[in-house]
Symmetry: C3
Subunit: 350 residues, 3 copies
C-alpha cells in the first residue's frame, strides 16, 4: 500500500492539515479498534468516542457533528461527510487489482473471426468465440468464457470463470465478478399433456455502461428481444434475473434478490436483500423494496414497500404493530364476550 | 436467423395463410411495440389492442378470443392457443447454440479409462475423470469438470464450467446450464462436544432423462444411496437441493427455491421462486407451493400451499385478508370495551 | 467400497457381534427399504419397524430405545446413539475422493514468486498468482483460481473452479466446494448526485482452520480490515456473506442464508436455511435463527428467534397461533358489536 502524509490527506479532503503533524505518514485505513500507529481511522458518531479515546491510529477523520472532547491531542480531520472522506482516502490506499498482462495468454483461445481492441488483457484459459468483439483495455481473467457474437465495450472487466453465453452485449466499463453467468436460456416450458416442452429462448441480454455485477449472479436471455440492465445499475451477489426483465438506470439490487420474468424496474429503484418480484410487475422510478419482501403488484414511483406480500411500508408497519398485540387481542375479545354475557344475565335478571 | 414466408408459418400453425400475403417473408419475432416490418408478432389479450393498431409487424399471431376490429388490414393468424403458436415459431427462428466441434479439443483431458460415445463434442479445458462414461452426441462446453466414474447418457449438454463430482449419473438428453455443481457433499455434521465432525456423504446423485437444470444450481450427493431428480423435471437458476432429496418426474422448481435434506416430491409438483421446504417433508403428486413460501409440513396431493409458514392457500388468503383489517380491529375492540363500560355504568346507574 | 465383517463393525461400535454372524461380510450402507443382502442398514425409531421386518439387509444397527419384537432372527447391533454409529460406519465405507496426483499438472500455472508446500496436488488448469503461499498437502482441483498473495494453510482442499481473489487467507484443513468465490469486492457505493460511485474495498477475507464451505457460496472482502470466518464453522451452499462480517467459531450456516455487511456472529450460532440478517446486527453466542427468518435486531446469547421480522421464538409461535384464529376473531368481533347494539336497544327500550 502507498504511504501518504497527513498533508497529502488534508489536500485530498479540502481541510486543514492537523497542526504540527503535516509530515506524519500513514500507510492504511482501519477501524478505531484495529488501527495501529501507521493507520488512519475515522469517527462517524458519538457512539464510538470511547474507542476514539483509546485508538492507536496516527490520525482520525471526524464527522463534524461529533462532539469531540476539548483537549484532543490526536491529529484529526474534521469533515462534513466522513463516509465520503473515507471513500476518497480508500481510493488512494486501494492496491491495484492483479490482472493478466496486456496481450493474450498462450493457453487462451480467441476465434480468428473475433476482434480484440488495443490494450486488452486476455488471461489463462480464456475462451473467446466466433465473431465476438472485445473492446479496448478489456480485462478477461483466467477461465472466462465469452460466447460467439458477444460484444464487450471498452474497459470491461470479467473476473475468473465468468460465463457470457452467445450474443450477449456489454457496454463500456462493465465489471462482472467471478462465477456469474449471463445469457442462460430463460425458464420457459409448455406442458403438452405428457411433458414440459422447452420454449426456445432466442433473445439476448444487454448490459449498459458502468453496470457492476457481483459473483454467482444469473441473468437469463430473453424469450425474444432482450433482457436489459440499465446504465450505472449495481447488482450484488447471487441475484436471479429472469428472461425479459428490463432494469432502468442506477438501480441497486442487493444480494439474493430475485426478479421473475418480464419484471420492469424504472430508474433508481432499490431492491433489498432476498426480496422477490413476481413476473410482469412494474416498479416506478425511485421506488424501494425492503429486504425479504415479496412484491406481487405494481409499485408506484418513489413508493416504499415491505412485507410478504409487500404492502406500502407504513401499512406494513401498522400491521406488524397490530400483530405484536394480536395474542392479547384474542384474550381481550374473550373477556369482552364474558362481560356482555354478564350484562345480558343482569339485563335478563332485571 | 432464417427467413420464413407467411405461407410457411400458416402451415406450421395449421391455419390459413393471410389472403394476398402468402409470400411476405419474416425473419424474426418481437413484441408488438418492438417489432419492425420483417418481424412476426403476437396478440394474446384485448389489453394490447392499441399496440396492435400501432405495430409495424409484418403479421401478427392473434388469440381467437381477442376481439379484433372489423376492418383489420394487417395480416393475422387467428389461433386457439397463441402461446403454443409462438413457441412453435420460435423453434423455427431459434439460432443454433454454438458448440465445440465433434471430437476432443487438444487442451481437454479424457482419462484413458473413460469411454466416449460417437459424435461427442469435448471442448476446451474439459476434464473427464477415470472410468467416466460419456454417451453419444454429448456436448461438453469449455471448462466442464466430469469427475471419476460419472455416467452421462446420450445427447447430454453441459454448459461452460459445470462441475459434476465423482459417481454422479445423468440420463439421456439432460441439459445443465453454466456454473452449476452436482454432487457436492451433503451438509451433515455431528457435534462431538468440541467440534462439528463431518459425517461422510458416500452416496451419489442420479438425474433422470430429459431433466433441465439452470445456472448456479447446487444438488448435493446423498449421505448414502442417492439424491434423485425424476425424468422431465425442470429446475431454474440458483436452486439448492439437499442430500437424499427425491424429486418425482415432471416437476417445476423455480429460481432460488431451497429443498432441505430428505425432502420427497411426487410427480408434477411445482415450487415457486424462493420457496423453502423443511427437511424430511413430502409433497404429494401435483401439489404446489407459492413463491416465497416456507413449507414445514407434508402437503397432500394436488394441494396448493402458500405463506410463511405455508398453509392451504385458501386459509392463507383468508388470514391475509383478515390481517389487512387487523389495525382497524384493534381500534374496534377498544371501542367495544368503551361501549360495554358505558352499558355497565348505565346498568349500575339504573 | 471396502468389505467389512460384522465382527469388524462390532469392534468399531464397541458392542458385541451378533451371535453366529461374526464372519458375515457387508460392503455398503443403505436404508431399510433399499438395502440388499450385502448391505448394513439402521433402525432409529419405532416408526420403521415394518420396514425392519421386510428389509433384506445383512444386519441392522438399532437404536437402544426401539422396541424390537422378541423373536428377531436378523443380526442386529443395539447401540445408544444410532446416528453416531452410522457416521462411524460411513467413515469406513467412504470411497476416497478422486484427487489430482501429487505435483503439478503441466497445464497449471504457478507464479515463480509463489511457494508450494510438500505433497501439494495441483490439478489441470489451476492458476496460482504472484506471491501466493500454498501449504503442505494442499489439493487444488481443476480450474481453481488462487489470486496473488493468497495464503493457504496445510491440507486445504479447493474443489473444481473455486475462485480465491487476491490476498485472501485460509487456515489449515479448510475445504471449499466447487464454484464458490471468496474475496469479491464488498457491495459499497456512494451516490454522488449523478451516479453510484464505487467505494474501494481494500480489505480481505480470513478463513480460520477447519472451516468447510459449500458450493456457489460468496464471501466478500472487507471495505478495510477483514471479513472473517471463525474456526470450525460450516457453511452450506449458496450462502451470501457481505463485507466486514465477523463469524465466530463453530457456527452452522444453512443453505441460501444471507448475512448483510458488518454482521457479527458469536460462537456456535446457527442460521437456518434462507434466513437473512440485516447489516450491523450482532448475534450472541449459541443463538439460533429459524429457517426463512429475517433478523433486524441484535439477538441475545442462546436466544432462538423466528419469523419475518424475527422475534423470540415463543412470541413468534404465540403470534402464529393467534393469526390462525384471526379470521374467526374478525367474525367474533362483529358479533360482539351486534350483541352490544342489542343490549343498547334493550337498555333504551327499558
Amino acid at each position: 500500500m502507498p504511504s501518504l502524509t497527513l498533508s497529502d490527506i488534508a489536500e485530498m479532503l479540502h481541510v486543514p492539515a492537523p497542526a504540527g503533524h503535516a509530515q506524519t505518514t500513514v500507510t492504511g485505513m482501519a477501524t478505531l479498534a484495529d488501527a495501529g500507529p501507521t493507520d488512519l481511522s475515522f469517527l462517524g458518531s458519538d457512539a464510538y468516542l470511547k474507542q476514539f479515546a483509546a485508538t492507536k491510529a496516527a490520525a482520525v477523520i471526524v464527522q463534524k457533528r461529533v462532539k469531540l472532547p476539548r483537549d484532543v491531542a490526536r491529529p484529526v480531520f474534521v469533515v462534513d461527510d466522513a463516509d465520503l472522506a473515507v471513500a476518497r482516502v480508500l481510493e488512494r490506499f486501494a492496491p491495484a487489482v492483479p490482472r493478466p498482462p496486456v496481450g493474450r495468454h498462450h493457453s487462451a483461445f480467441v476465434a480468428p473471426s473475433a476482434s480484440v481492441g488495443d490494450g486488452a488483457r486476455i488471461g489463462m484459459n480464456v475462451f473467446v468465440g466466433d465473431g465476438a468483439r472485445v473492446g479496448k483495455n478489456v480485462v478477461l481473467h483466467p477461465g472466462v468464457y465469452v460466447g460467439a457474437d458477444v460484444t464487450l465495450g471498452d474497459e470491461v472487466e470479467l473476473h475468473a470463470n465468468v460465463v457470457l453465453r452467445e450474443r450477449v452485449t456489454l457496454g463500456h466499463r462493465v465489471i462482472i465478478h467471478a462465477g456469474s453467468v449471463i445469457g442462460t436460456d430463460g425458464f420457459g416450458y409448455r406442458w403438452d399433456g405428457t411433458r414440459h416442452q422447452k420454449v426456445p429462448q432466442i433473445g439476448t441480454v444487454i448490459i449498459e455502461d458502468d453496470v457492476e455485477i457481483g459473483s454467482c449472479v444469473c441473468i437469463d436471455r430473453a424469450k425474444f428481444s432482450a433482457t436489459r440492465v440499465g446504465k450505472g445499475t449495481k447488482i450484488d451477489n447471487l441475484v436471479q434475473i429472469g428472461h425479459n426483465v428490463v432494469i432502468g438506470p442506477h438501480c441497486i439490487i442487493v444480494g439474493q434478490a430475485g426478479l421473475a420474468g418480464s419484471v420492469t424496474l424504472g430508474a433508481g429503484v432499490v431492491l433489498g436483500g432476498q426480496s422477490a418480484l413476481r413476473d410482469h410487475i412494474t416498479m416506478g422510478d425511485g421506488s424501494m423494496v425492503a429486504a425479504c419482501s415479496g412484491v406481487a403488484e405494481d409499485v408506484d414511483p418513489k413508493m416504499i414497500v415491505s412485507g410478504l406480500p409487500a404492502l406500502p411500508h407504513r401499512q406494513s408497519l401498522r400491521e406488524q404493530a397490530a400483530l405484536r398485540r394480536l395474542p392479547d387481542l384474542v384474550t381481550q375479545v374473550r373477556k369482552l364476550q364474558e362481560q356482555i354475557d354478564e350484562l345480558k344475565r343482569a339485563g335478563g335478571a332485571s
